[in-house]
């Protein structure tokens, strides 16, 4: 299979009653091949989660893919209705808050059973498969856990149950939206191990959404940096972390906890309004490199080493290779 996800110039509009519409995703390019592990990083509100929901068919009812193209698993056009039988079976999602994603009124085994039913497991086998599945995620006493209710489990245990449900049908694409943000450090390591184990054994692709560059570094091979609904830079993880091309990527890396030795750095200014589509650089008001052409030039992509950057004045010298795509 070729590309698992291919987004090009994707723009999502959210209609609001009596108010102007919002464009939380304005211009996103994202390409994920089979077996790729890529990350979406950026400040909260940059459109990461909405992009993930586009790919799982869980956009809010008042949101539409207004512009651009989006293809899932090489064959499904997301401008049309989300295809049947894909959600949960071929694309699965792991969420940030594991406690609230489990049905409070149903037992763990029952809930995993529902996901197994969706994956086509026969009714008679479900409870056994559910226990096996929990066991395969290194959960001690899985049969006991299957009988419990979510409120009786710790956050880490709930996340493992949610992962069990997501991985049950062996999806080709796993989307993890801040999977370890609400967990403590020890549990975080265990959950990341589980995800890596699945990816290694199944060869599935991963889209990891995280603001924690340590987690990104651990799992992802490539990174798309998003700002104000735009993908501003894409490249191999090592390049982005060591010598980012976009000034925003540089500032983001600098402000992250990754560089513990340096003094804390925060980016001045605030995110621009998403009430209108911004054809020019959205970062220019906060950018240290901004010059006068930034405010009136419509941006295209320029190639960088193994990726692209959307900036007139990148902070590292551009290479000539990479596939150059004019806007």
């Amino acid at each position: 299979m070729g590309e698992v996800v291919s987004l090009s110039g994707a723009r999502i509009r959210i209609d609001r009653k009596g108010l102007p519409p919002l464009y939380p995703v304005q211009n996103v390019d994202l390409s994920v091949g089979a077996g790729d592990r890529t990350a979406l990083v950026g400040e909260s509100g940059c459109g990461k989660s909405l992009t993930a929901r586009l790919l799982t068919g869980l956009l809010p009812r008042n949101a539409v893919l207004e512009k651009g193209s989006a293809t899932l698993l090489g064959q499904f056009d997301l401008r049309k209705d989300f295809p049947d039988g894909v959600r949960g079976r071929r694309v699965a999602m792991i969420f940030q808050d594991p406690v609230s994603v489990l049905d409070p009124m149903a037992g763990v085994g029952t809930q995993i059973g529902r996901a197994l039913a969706a994956a086509g497991v026969a009714r008679a086998d479900r409870s056994r498969v559910a226990v096996d599945l929990l066991g395969s995620l290194h959960i001690p006493a899985p049969d006991e856990v299957a009988r419990k209710y979510p409120h009786q489990l710790s956050g880490g245990m709930c996340q493992r149950v949610a992962i069990a449900m997501a991985l049950a049908p062996k999806p080709d694409l796993l989307i993890a939206d801040e999977p370890t943000t609400s967990l403590d450090v020890t549990t975080e390591v265990q959950v990341l191990d589980l995800l890596e184990e699945y990816l290694d054994s199944s060869g599935a692709s991963l889209i990891l959404i995280s603001h924690d560059l340590n987690v990104v570094k651990r799992l992802a091979g490539s990174v798309t940096v998003m700002y104000a609904g735009q993908s501003v830079e894409y490249g191999p993880i090592t390049d982005i972390l060591s010598e980012p091309a976009h000034p925003y990527s540089r500032d983001l890396v600098r402000s992250s906890v990754l560089n513990r030795g340096e003094s804390a750095y925060s980016i001045a200014g605030t995110l621009p309004s998403i009430e209108e589509v911004m054809p020019t650089c959205p970062y220019r008001s906060r950018c240290s490199e901004a010059r006068s052409p930034c405010s009136d030039t419509v941006l295209g992509q320029s190639p960088s080493a193994g990726g692209f950057v959307r900036c007139l004045f990148p902070v590292k010298p551009m290479h000539g290779n990479g596939d150059w795509k004019p806007e």
Binding site: K17, R87, S100, V101, P104, M105, R114, A115, Q152
Partner: protein, 366 residues
């Protein structure tokens, strides 16, 4: 809790054991025992206070007319009558004997008929239960599917229709709606019988429950069943119009909050079918607020039935209370008020226990 449109219907402020204890990892048997005991205690206490209030009212109405001695009674006669009725006793004694009477089911004597009020209410109760039950059934059949349908797509067309119906239902006085239905259904269309009470003419068999429709069905007397339902329909629709809006609103709001919840979205993302999501995930999660509002509704039905019974000459306890009120015969009025209130208190607390038993977060863990 999602609140309804009417303040007297927005539940009580009492908190369940969950919020009292924060987020317990598990509930022990002792916790459950204490909770149930506290609920039963509250039940007894509130019933007692309700009865005390009717006691106060009954003493406030204890004027000469209440004493049944006639206009030209002398002071001696009045004093003798007061002594006979125990009104010369200290208040706490009067209260104690009032409570003792209540426990025995003695609600006093009707001034018009000189018959015990308890017996008169008992005779009329089946008619009111029939009307209220039919109205509740109708409300449930419309409001629960309607509320769920509206809540699944907030601001969709179904939500707008449901919203308008709920608004209109809450604003229309049900006695007026009853008259309008009589005008159209009986006078104009001629489809429905005259508002002359229950259709009990065709039933030959011995009454079992006293509820004509049920008795007719039990006796497989289809003609009688059809006739009694025919008579029941307009009053039941009228009464239902008043109690439906809160059920609609609560069901709709509970559904919206489940649909917007992370676990609903997550279940869909795991590929769980919409059918399973709707029946296995949505229904248990909206059950608690819906059961709560149903309990409140049952209490409200008793009060709401009064006017509907008057309009349709329905031979229930509401019409009984109103005609007693007309002739300043207060024991029947207070008897009906007491019965309705205590019923409400019971149903409400039982509903609380039911939701408690249903919620796995509150059940005993082994």
């Amino acid at each position: 809790m999602a609140t309804s449109t009417e303040p007297e219907l927005d539940g009580d402020g009492s908190t369940g054991p969950l919020s009292a204890a924060g987020e317990p990892a598990s509930t022990t048997r002792a916790d459950v025992f204490i909770y149930v005991a506290r609920k039963l205690g509250a039940l007894v206490l509130v019933s007692l206070l309700v009865a005390t209030l009717t006691f106060v009212v009954s003493r406030a109405t204890a004027d000469p007319s209440f004493l049944m001695v006639g206009q030209d009674a002398t002071d001696e006669i009045i004093a003798a009558r007061r002594a006979e009725m125990g009104l010369d006793q200290p208040m706490y004694r009067q209260w104690a004997s009032y409570m003792a009477d209540l426990v025995r089911g003695d609600l006093g004597i009707s001034r018009r008929t000189f018959a015990p009020v308890g017996g008169e209410i008992w005779e009329r109760l089946p008619a009111t239960v029939e009307l209220a039950g039919a109205a509740l059934l109708l409300s449930l059949l419309v409001a629960i599917p309607g509320g769920i349908r509206a809540g699944l797509r907030p601001d969709g067309w179904a939500d707008r229709i449901v919203g308008s119906v709920a608004q209109l239902g809450a604003a229309i006085p049900n006695f007026w709606l009853g008259l309008m239905l009589i005008y159209f259904g009986f006078y104009w269309l001629g489809w429905f019988p005259a508002p002359t009470g229950r259709g009990l003419f065709a039933l030959d068999s011995e009454p079992v429950t006293g509820i004509v429709t049920v008795d007719a069905l039990l006796a497989s007397d289809w003609t009688a069943a059809r006739e009694s339902i025919w008579y029941l329909l307009l009053p039941a629709v009228t009464l239902a119009s008043g109690v439906m809006p809160p059920i609609l609103n609560v069901t709709r709001n509970a559904t919206v909050s489940v649909v917007n919840s992370p676990y609903y979205e997550a279940a869909l993302s795991f590929g769980v079918s919409r059918r399973v999501v709707k029946w296995r995930l949505l229904l248990p999660n909206i059950a608690a607020p819906v059961i709560n509002i149903l309990a409140i509704t049952i209490g409200f039905l008793m009060g709401g039935a009064v006017l509907v019974e008057v309009v349709f000459s329905w031979p229930g306890i509401g019409g009984y209370a109103v005609s007693a009120m007309d002739s300043s015969d207060y024991n029947p009025v207070l008897g009906v008020v007491l019965l309705a209130s205590v019923t409400y208190v019971f149903v409400y607390q039982i509903a609380d226990l039911v939701t408690f038993a249903m919620d796995p977060r509150l059940r005993i863990s082994r």
